[in-house]
């Protein structure tokens, strides 16, 4: 019986530049259904954090409720974590981020968690441009509660027991573009080549980075007629671009053809290179992204890749003009600077 992952790893695997092995970014063995897309996303997160050489104690995982929200147990076992209430992860993330702006915040949610019970919280955290990565593991159903249609299920999509979904779907990508998100991407759990650089780019983005990742529920929504099954997604996927993420200090070695490529420099100096597969689209132009999304939808295509990025994004701390020092480290000395300072402030209002 194997509930424990053996400790042995491939002896040929290298450590990253801060001396960690990839296994240092792993978590407990997954208890999700075998073949669940969510596990692949966990794998991509592990790969991205390992490659980015993130210090595990420098990252906090936050989640709501659902199979998707359980995944933080299965990756980054040495990082901070908070498994919160259904649909309430954004509040926890906001509070944590305001208290300590120095950590990387990785929010993990599901389509039920974000598009149903948590839709309000989702909209508000987004419009505040909180500095975090927000991943929705989107399987079009409530996996944990046995596969009921969720708000992202496409109209007409057939559920496992055979009923057609009668309602319109909430497209979280469309919604976030509409609400002013500064980083919007869509991907597929079964495409790590695209997913890993997207996660890395999202972690480097200063502000709210939204990743809608289609992630088939093998148990309840992988049947013929479902628009979130492995087969359906693979047949209808249309990538906007091939993507490379080049961290700041790395030399740029790939050459890109003029006209079909675009590059976006991020605040920290790293670079996102997009080898565009569809012309007439500019990833820094919100209108063009929205147009493109609509067009793909009407053709029955699932548009993936980095869809929109605002290179000038300023996060919530910038908007609120908070101090550079994390608020949770401010002590009495800084918070109560004494009578003289109070006098000074009061004098300003006289």
């Amino acid at each position: 019986m194997t509930y424990i992952k053996p400790k042995f790893r491939h002896p040929g695997l290298k450590r990253n530049k801060i001396g960690f092995a990839k296994s240092d970014y792993e978590g407990a063995i997954s208890t999700l259904c075998a073949g669940c897309g969510h596990d692949s996303i966990s794998g991509a997160i592990i790969q991205a954090c390992y490659e980015m050489a993130i210090e595990p104690h420098h990252l906090a995982k936050l989640s709501g409720i659902g199979c998707s929200s359980k995944t933080p147990t299965y990756f980054l076992g040495n990082s901070h974590g908070f498994n919160s209430v259904h649909g309430r992860m954004p509040s926890i993330a906001t509070g944590a981020n305001l208290a300590n702006r120095d950590l990387i915040y990785l929010g993990v949610s599901g389509d039920g968690d974000s598009a149903s019970i948590g839709l309000g919280q989702f909209c508000h955290v987004l419009r505040r441009n909180l500095n975090m990565v927000y991943i929705v593991m989107n399987n079009g159903c409530y996996g944990l509660t046995k596969g009921q249609d969720s708000a992202t299920a496409d109209p007409g999509s057939v559920s496992k027991e055979g009923s057609n979904n009668a309602f319109q779907a909430i497209d979280l990508v469309g919604l976030s573009l509409e609400l002013g998100a500064t980083f919007v991407a869509r991907s597929f759990s079964g495409d790590k080549k695209q997913l890993v650089p997207l996660i890395k780019a999202a972690m480097s983005h200063p502000g709210f980075a939204f990743l809608d990742i289609i992630s088939p529920c093998v148990t309840f929504n992988n049947n013929p007629g479902s628009t979130k099954s492995y087969d359906y997604v693979r047949e209808h996927i249309a990538a906007t671009s091939r993507l490379d993420f080049v961290p700041e200090e790395k030399e740029i070695t790939v050459s890109y053809e003029e006209g079909t490529s675009a590059s976006v420099r991020l605040h920290d100096g790293s670079l996102i290179h997009l080898q565009k597969l569809s012309p007439h689209w500019d990833p820094t132009d919100r209108d063009s992204a929205m147009n493109h999304l609509q067009k793909a939808k009407s053709h029955g295509e699932i548009l993936t890749g980095l869809l929109y990025i605002d290179p000038h994004s300023g996060d919530l701390h910038q908007l609120l003009d908070t101090v550079a020092q994390p608020l949770n480290t401010l002590r009495e000395k800084e918070l109560c600077p004494g009578r003289a300072v109070l006098e000074e402030i009061n004098a300003e209002y006289r």
Partner: protein, 592 residues
């Protein structure tokens, strides 16, 4: 790459590294699991079927399986396969009733076996149940060959040897002991349908240096010395002893000397330590008995004064290697070294010798007096004469002699039936599904972290007093269990079915040792560089699937697979399955 043909039995056989490396291809993981289940008798019989001498080999085998063991590639040391074999032998119950016996009614064919070592005994065991009348000749008074005359009793107790030799001799073998066969011509004139030569490599090499003749009384040839000790013709040696040579014979000679009165026993090798032929564990055991080993010192002269050996003069050299890696020993210029000795033992190798085979019988000999043989059938250029063991291709070891014996027995059986002896029987293979439940397999799939357990030794002050006291005590059953659990069950194969794979990546994500990759196909060299982990061990195969719906292929590097079954547990469609692969070399008669 082309999709891997897993229907070729050799593909999965190669994955079971230990079994593949074993000359007799003993199903190692199969008996290790039986030991863990405390089914020692069954474990013994799995061994006996394949290697004929489990108790002997569990103490003395050269164990080519251990350097091959996959565990040695993921941590420091391989599974103690050899010593686990001994656990089966030490704890077994009654086995005789499980062994085939010779039928009352004979098949009318008569076979002569010349030499009573493991090769001949294996032929006897494989042929006796088929009704052959078997005559075994040996110049000693008991069977076992060098297992008796050479391997010291402190490594192999006589009772263990007798037991396993007798299982065979009691199958109605006609023994002709104390019978040196001095003419092959005479043997051919008798009414044997076939003759098997298993006479070993009985000639110890000599070292002709100044003083050799004058000091002859105290200069001994290693294998002659050991045989004389084994048969109690010699029971003491001088206080100061020098052993010349760095192989296993030298190790047995020095340790034996320590038990016969040698207080200052020194082993001197001409070349560097790294080139010593002795197994590392033999060297370790010799050192533990306070025997220094000096290297880079070729002997120059035996010093004899007034007819008495005084010692040996050695030159000091260092090894230099040319661009082809060829070694040359160059003098360092340091002064020669004189080491005092009352006795010197020369243990620098053995050779084949067939002075008793006349050269006009049609049996051809090639270089170094080695018979010309067919490598598969062991048949000589005289059709009814077969060779095996050390007599075939020069000195090897017991397990090789056994492997030869099995093949020679098949050849003799085919030959006696007038069949084509190159039409060899295929191995018996079997591949069976092992799933018992969602997280349950018929084997212990969990991988333990335990490091290799040490075999306990009897205390030195006791063992050095009597050459018959066994040094190694063997694992007790609880330790045997723990050591058995270290086995990775490499015979439980990961079997992939491309048509059911939905490419969800679950197996890639879970695999602890990054064995699995889904990628575009390519040539092997290129593929090896772009897998989840670099596949640098070229001796290990890549398992490649047919093309999948995404136009990629599944590539599994077999190198460090832990056979943990996690890929199969995480696979939603059972595209991965754990299946037990049993590979058994076919023998002349069915034993189990």
């Amino acid at each position: 790459m082309k999709p891997t043909n897993i229907n070729n039995p050799e593909y999965f056989h190669k994955v079971v590294d230990c079994q593949y490396a074993c000359p007799a291809h003993t199903p190692v993981p199969e008996y290790i699991r039986l030991i863990a289940a405390e089914r020692y008798t069954e474990a013994y019989m799995v061994n006996w079927e394949s290697n004929v001498f489990p108790g002997i080999l569990g103490r003395t085998c050269d164990r080519p399986c251990e350097p091959a063991c996959r565990r040695g590639r993921i941590e420091e040391e391989p599974v103690a396969i050899c010593r686990l074999k001994r656990v089966a032998a030490d704890n077994k119950g009654e086995v005789k009733s499980r062994m085939p016996q010779a039928p009352e009614k004979k098949n009318g064919k008569k076979i002569a076996l010349i030499g009573g070592g493991p090769a001949s005994l294996t032929v006897a065991r494989d042929l006796a149940p088929l009704g052959y009348e078997i005559h075994l000749y040996d110049d000693w008074h008991k069977g076992g060959g060098m297992m008796r005359s050479q391997i010291p009793a402190f490594r192999l107790p006589e009772s263990v040897l007798d037991e396993e030799v007798n299982y065979i001799l009691e199958m109605g073998i006609h023994t002709h002991f104390n019978h040196y066969v001095s003419s092959m011509k005479e043997m051919l004139e008798k009414d044997y349908d076939a003759i098997f030569v298993g006479t070993g490599a009985p000639k110890g090499r000599d070292l002709i240096l100044p003083g050799r003749e004058e000091g002859a009384k105290n200069i001994h040839i290693g294998i002659e010395f050991l045989a004389n000790v084994a048969f109690s013709h010699v029971d003491k040696i001088g206080k100061k002893v020098i052993i010349l040579g760095g192989g296993n014979t030298a190790m047995d000679c020095c340790r034996t000397s320590r038990r016969l009165g040698g207080d200052e026993v020194t082993v001197v090798v001409r070349s560097p330590f790294e080139e010593m032929k002795a197994s590392p564990w033999e060297i370790e055991d010799a050192r533990a008995e306070d025997i220094p080993i000096l290297n880079n010192m070729p002997p120059k002269e035996f010093v004899v004064e007034n007819g008495r050996l005084k010692g040996v003069i050695f030159e000091k050299v260092r090894a230099e290697y040319d661009e082809n890696g060829r070694r040359k020993l160059v003098p360092t210029g340091e002064p020669d070294v004189f080491i005092e000795a009352d006795d010197v033992i020369i243990a620098i190798g053995q050779d084949n010798a067939f002075p008793w085979i006349e050269r006009d019988l049609g049996i051809e000999f090639g270089k170094w007096d080695i018979p010309v043989l067919d490598k598969v059938s062991f048949q000589s250029t005289l059709p009814q004469v077969f060779f095996g063991g050390d007599a075939a291709f020069g000195p090897e070891n017991i397990i090789t002699a056994v492997a030869h014996g099995h093949q020679a027995a098949i050849s003799i059986d085919l030959y006696c039936q007038g069949k084509d002896i190159l039409d060899r029987p295929s191995p018996m293979t079997n591949l069976i599904h092992q799933k018992m439940g969602i997280h349950e397999w018929s084997y212990d799939s969990a991988v333990v972290d335990d490091l290799r357990y040490k075999v306990p030794h009897e205390v030195k002050s006791i063992t050095l007093t009597n050459r018959k006291i066994e040094v190694e005590l063997g694992f007790d059953p609880p330790t045997g269990f723990k050591e058995a659990q270290r086995c990775l069950n490499c015979d439980i194969q990961t079997v992939f079915t491309a048509s059911t794979c939905i490419e969800c990546d679950a197996c890639v994500d879970i695999c602890p040792t990054s064995c699995i990759t889904f990628t575009e196909n390519g040539e092997e060299e290129d593929l090896r560089t772009r897998l989840s982990a670099p596949a640098e061990n070229k001796t290990q195969d890549l398992y490649v699937s047919e093309v999948l719906p995404t136009k990629r292929v599944m590539v599994k590097d077999e190198d460090v697979c832990l056979h943990c079954g996690l890929c199969a547990e995480r696979c939603p469609t059972s595209a991965w399955d754990m299946q037990k692969f049993l590979y058994n070399v076919t023998k002349a008669s069915k034993i189990l």
